[in-house]
Symmetry: C2
Subunit: 348 residues, 2 copies
Amino acid sequence: MTPITVAVDAMGGDFGPSVVVPAALQVLEQYPDLHLILVGDQARLETLLHEHAGEAPARIKVQHASQSVAMDESPATALRQKKDSSMRVAINLVQQGNAAACVSAGNTGALMATARFVLKTLPGIDRPAIISSFPVETGGCVRLLDLGANVDSTPAHLVQFAIMGSVMVSEMDGLEAPRVCLLNIGHEDIKGNELVRESAKLLSVTRGIHYAGYIEGDEIYQGGADVIVCDGFVGNVALKTMEGVALLIKKLLKQEFGRSWMTRLAASVSLPVLKAVARWLDPDRYNGATFIGLKGIVVKSHGRASVKAFVRALTEARFQAEKNIPQCISHRVELLLKQSASDGAQLT
Amino acid sequence: MTPITVAVDAMGGDFGPSVVVPAALQVLEQYPDLHLILVGDQARLETLLHEHAGEAPARIKVQHASQSVAMDESPATALRQKKDSSMRVAINLVQQGNAAACVSAGNTGALMATARFVLKTLPGIDRPAIISSFPVETGGCVRLLDLGANVDSTPAHLVQFAIMGSVMVSEMDGLEAPRVCLLNIGHEDIKGNELVRESAKLLSVTRGIHYAGYIEGDEIYQGGADVIVCDGFVGNVALKTMEGVALLIKKLLKQEFGRSWMTRLAASVSLPVLKAVARWLDPDRYNGATFIGLKGIVVKSHGRASVKAFVRALTEARFQAEKNIPQCISHRVELLLKQSASDGAQLT
């Protein structure tokens, strides 16, 4: 059993160590090969570990960091003035080879800027992207990227996203030829904006990608794609819109079930059903977006993640480390670059 | 009581006259000032009118059209080869001044191409946009545009959309200074793509617009905006994503409530609540997207609209005709063009 070490920004997110510490203890019980380095306020972390576990388990190390990045801090400030932040130190551990991955629930912009600066992008990849999983009706999941790291993407960027997404799904979900679709506003060739149409042309001649055509917003959950690629602006709008509708329906159900004693009775009778639906939609089950395209694994947890959700992000990081996703991407890109050089085509 | 005449493409949509005829009869009962011209296969329409109403009401006229546009026909073919289609004739009636508005459930691309060709855009407006209403949590609704007519919009286009949306909300919903927001992926000035940031700069100095800043996808339903402006690609993705999530949750509820006799019992007890939520989300209540920016009113119904939904689209057309929305937009744009000429600023 090869040990896998994950560095954790223990001060990040809305709840910091009070979520990170119990999540760390839980995930260690599930994976005997997992080691964690909790980075942050040493005294506080040790106190919390003591409170939760008596003695800190052998597979948890605490590494002190004197600063932390605020949730509303600008990426530039975090990068320049927070060189000893828990976030920065956790990423440094990956860069130095002391951890195979890092996880943070902190400020997304600061995390991306710091990760890019410290780890750098993989050869052949211009920009890292944000990728995450969503459940689909047919079972399993679909991975969508970019969820907001890159606005104003070019067709070459979208092709790179497609390659990265495809490699990730192959490795993580064991699919041989993941179906890669482009998010568009129709299915016909003429539909969409210039970015999408040009990307479609490139993708249809990119080797090693099973390009499966356009997909529309209402089909994201239908199971027709394994990877969905789009510009980060569009992907972020889609992501937030999904969250907004799900939240709206939740509120409406709560409001209508709370209207009278009769409806409250109906609610109590329907509770198992409502819980099953909520569990299916529960974003915690899919917590952990990955900054893909970097020379290292960086998993971003929701800022408001619960213990359960943070465990999920840690698990995601562990599996990516086990599969060594950055290296897999690097190999694939190298191969494609060689092939396209011999084809005379352009990858970037 | 000034009569208002609406022309109806009676052959459009998945169900054609079998939905249009009963909807026409229903809406006439609601609005004594409303007159309808049903355009399509005269014999079929007269038979259906006879079946539903005995004698056709005095306020319904039937105008024969020898062709119809198929739902999957290309806009170019419809425009060139279907000069006597029910869709084209209905739009012609608006252009000739014989109807104040037209409604079609037909092929969106063909309807837009034909409407643009026949009616032309208003002075000062480069491109028509698609605008529609969505319910918000706080009651009332928000109007979102563009929902897919324009991909690759420029900042000047987004400003034009903002003006048109603002005028429409002022006139239709009686708001004096509707809050106009730009759909973005964050609230800070630096967030978003170039299009959004440039549009924000322009909007903040456009007179007569109450520009209220950025809004994110999860806030669409929260009631913080009266008009939300975005590029048509983004708007269409957001719209379809909303539909997809709502449909998914509907399917999940059905699946979970159908699992056993116990859950089916819970479903029957909860039926009034589930119906109330479904009613709230029901897209039929908001059926009728408007092609705004043309020299005439064109309302597009969902292709699969029910009778109730088609009544709603007819009602929307009637109200826009009563308010003469195209003229209101024209006046506002003229005023703004004069002001910006004296300011030295640029509207287009």
